[in-house]
């Protein structure tokens, strides 16, 4: 195994441990737990209250819009990571800290325009 991948052993172990715990909990509760089914127990769970109406209802398109915006700003967030990782090294190499900083700030500023636009359009206003 290459040296590089050895860094991922802890991640692999936590992945394995998480799957192990999840499957063990499911299997043991299935094997050991009593199954007495009443009408109340089989009801859909809505924070303890009796369910109101069918869960398969039409959802407002607003949720969908928030989700779309989340994807776009999520992409922005993941692009920040490589920049942050190389920031110090690259600033030393180019001898210009401000340049490397400005590179990302231009990127963020462009997206911030979009954010303000969306805000002004009232996407985050839930009462409308």
């Amino acid at each position: 195994m290459s040296n590089d991948l050895q860094n991922y052993i802890p991640l692999l172990m936590s992945f394995g441990l998480a799957s192990l715990i999840a499957t063990t909990l499911l299997i043991t509760s299935r094997l050991l737990g009593p199954r007495i089914q009443t009408r109340e127990k089989l009801m859909p769970y809505e924070c303890g209250n009796d369910p109101v109406g069918n869960a398969r209802d039409r959802f407002s398109v607003k949720f969908y819009l928030v989700c779309l915006l989340f994807i776009l700003f999520d992409i922005e967030a993941i692009i920040l990571i490589p920049w942050a990782v190389v920031y110090r090294a690259l600033a030393e190499e180019l001898g210009n800290k401000l340049f490397v900083y400005a590179e990302m700030m231009i990127f963020v500023a462009t997206l911030f325009v979009g954010y303000i636009y969306v805000w002004k359009k009232g996407v985050f206003d839930w009462s409308k």
């Binding site: 819009l65 994807i71 967030a77 590179e103 462009t110």
Partner: protein
């Protein structure tokens, strides 16, 4: 068989199993969860190939954001669990096997010439490499990406707002 090969087989099985489950499961939400499983395996395969950044992006963007969109679409479409199966065309079933065979043959032809012992270049996909190239060599495409995302923000807003007019 080395430990790494064992890992590869495990994660490849996760990818394929997830993919098959997406096709076979009737409940669209279960299908979405199976797709997440597939994405996790895919991310691990990327990391094993030395493309750590893509691996991380696979989890953060695909398994996180894109899958959320999928689930929302399932909710918006309001698919009923007890919905009737669409009518099957019998001849399509008979066509599937030869076409799958053809695809496998084509893939085999494409892959057969590749030397098996070629290790993936360890450096190319690291976060440091991606960051450095993004900030120097590919600076213009990088900045233009922000404009592209801005366009997507405006586009998404107008697509979803249309119903009010």
């Amino acid at each position: 068989m080395t430990f790494q090969q064992l890992l590869f087989i495990g994660f490849a099985a996760l990818v394929l199993g997830g993919g098959i489950a997406v096709v076979l499961l009737r409940n669209p939400l279960y299908g979405a969860f199976a797709l997440i499983t597939s994405f996790v395996g895919l991310s691990a395969l990327y990391v094993m190939m030395g493309a750590q950044f893509i691996g991380a992006a696979q989890i953060v963007v695909y398994a996180g954001a894109i899958m959320m969109l999928f689930v929302f679409v399932i909710m918006l479409l309001n698919v009923r669990a007890d919905e009737e199966r669409p009518p099957r065309h019998r001849f399509l079933v008979w066509l599937a096997a030869p076409l799958a065979l053809l695809l496998s043959a084509g893939l085999w032809l494409a892959v057969a010439g590749v030397q098996g012992d070629r290790a993936p270049s360890g450096e190319a996909g690291t976060v440091e490499r991606v960051g450095k190239n993004l900030m120097t060599r590919y600076l213009l495409p990088f900045e233009l990406t922000s404009v592209l995302i801005l366009l997507a923000v405006v586009g998404a807003l107008h697509l979803a707002k249309r119903e009010k007019e």
